[in-house]
């Protein structure tokens, strides 16, 4: 019994890790299209290792944006990982020095696989397998995507500039669909966030509108008693 749950955790981890890791191709391509060097794209994947933040930071650079605002947007998205860590600390038994390497792996995909397992032992296995396979695939494909794109004269001709927004849409999609009361608030917030960002665009440097949208929506959330 124990071996079957562990092997299903390994299977889940490898499936998610390799499938999502392939999206590193898109990240590498987007980063170089935005004007980053191949080395900068690879450093982000090696050491930031959290897709949405990486795409956000690179997107602001692409728009010729304010780098401080781009970094702030990436970190705001990264807060999510801290909250996963709160939930995962006990499950992973991440205490003392062991938590330093483990922390690097606490992201959307590893948390999802770990929390889907029926017991602690397989949760830990699922986490480690997802982390390892995703880390290796994501970094290898980032290099391939970045190096490949740097040989292309005009990446916009290949439609690579749409990959960034399409990635965000795919990440956001499950939160907005499915119907019912629990998708109503996210839909409203998504619509407001997009509207505020576009309204702020002509008046603020690139990168800043996204932060204004997040702060405006946050103010509304915190004011509304629930």
């Amino acid at each position: 019994m124990e071996t079957t749950t562990r092997s299903s955790a390994i299977r889940d981890g490898l499936g998610v890790g390799i499938a999502v890791g392939l999206a590193g191709l898109a990240f590498g391509a987007t980063a170089v299209t935005a004007g980053l060097s191949v080395a900068q794209a690879c450093v982000l994947s090696l050491f930031a290792f959290t897709g949405a933040s990486q795409f956000a930071m690179v997107g602001v650079v692409a728009g010729g944006g304010n780098l401080v605002a781009g970094t702030a947007g990436a970190l705001l998205l990264g807060i999510r990982n801290g909250l996963y860590g709160l939930r995962m600390a006990d499950l992973l038994g991440a205490r003392g020095r062991r938590r330093f390497p483990m922390a690097h792996g606490v992201i959307d995909e590893t948390t999802a696989v770990a929390l889907a397992q029926p017991d602690r032992e397989s949760a830990r296995t699922g986490f480690l397998v997802t982390f390892a396979s995703l880390y290796l695939t994501w970094n290898a494909t980032t290099l391939a995507g970045a190096a490949g794109t740097s040989w292309v004269a005009d990446p916009a001709l290949l439609g690579l500039d749409v990959v960034g927004p399409a990635t965000f849409l795919a990440i956001l999609w499950p939160r907005l669909t499915g119907g019912g009361a629990e998708t109503r608030t996210p839909r409203l917030i998504a619509a407001c966030g997009a509207a505020v960002a576009l309204a702020a665009t002509p008046f603020t440097p690139p990168g800043v509108p996204v932060l204004i949208a997040a702060v405006a929506v946050l103010a509304v959330i915190l004011r509304r008693p629930r």
Binding site: A48, L75, G82, Y84, L157, A190, A213
Partner: protein, 104 residues
């Protein structure tokens, strides 16, 4: 060192620090309902704002880039058809590239 390198390094250090803070923080923070709502909803606002800006903003001006908008439309169709993640991205890129090629 260029500004972009500083932004890359700050993003790397900050993202790791946030992950580590989560694993090291006291557990009772999670019981606070404000923390939970914040965690659930801020990414929604940020991602929607990023999609809008990266599709329709060009520096500080707004304009509709038809091939890019159509590519995003193709991504919506792929998502409605429950296509895998990479198929969604490929559909968007192929439609954008095809329209640019046709109108060039």
């Amino acid at each position: 060192m260029s500004g972009v390198w500083w932004a890359v390094l700050a993003t790397c250090v900050g993202c790791y620090a946030l992950k580590l803070a989560g694993l090291s923080a006291p557990r009772r923070m999670l019981d606070h309902p404000g923390v939970q709502r914040f965690a659930a909803l801020v990414p929604v606002a940020l991602l929607a704002a990023l999609i809008a800006v990266q599709t329709f903003a060009h520096g500080q001006s707004l304009h509709v880039d038809w091939p890019r908008t159509a590519g995003l439309g193709a991504a919506v169709v792929a998502l409605l058809l429950r296509a895998p993640f990479l198929v969604v991205l490929a559909a968007a890129a192929v439609v954008t590239a095809a329209l640019r090629w046709l109108t060039a």
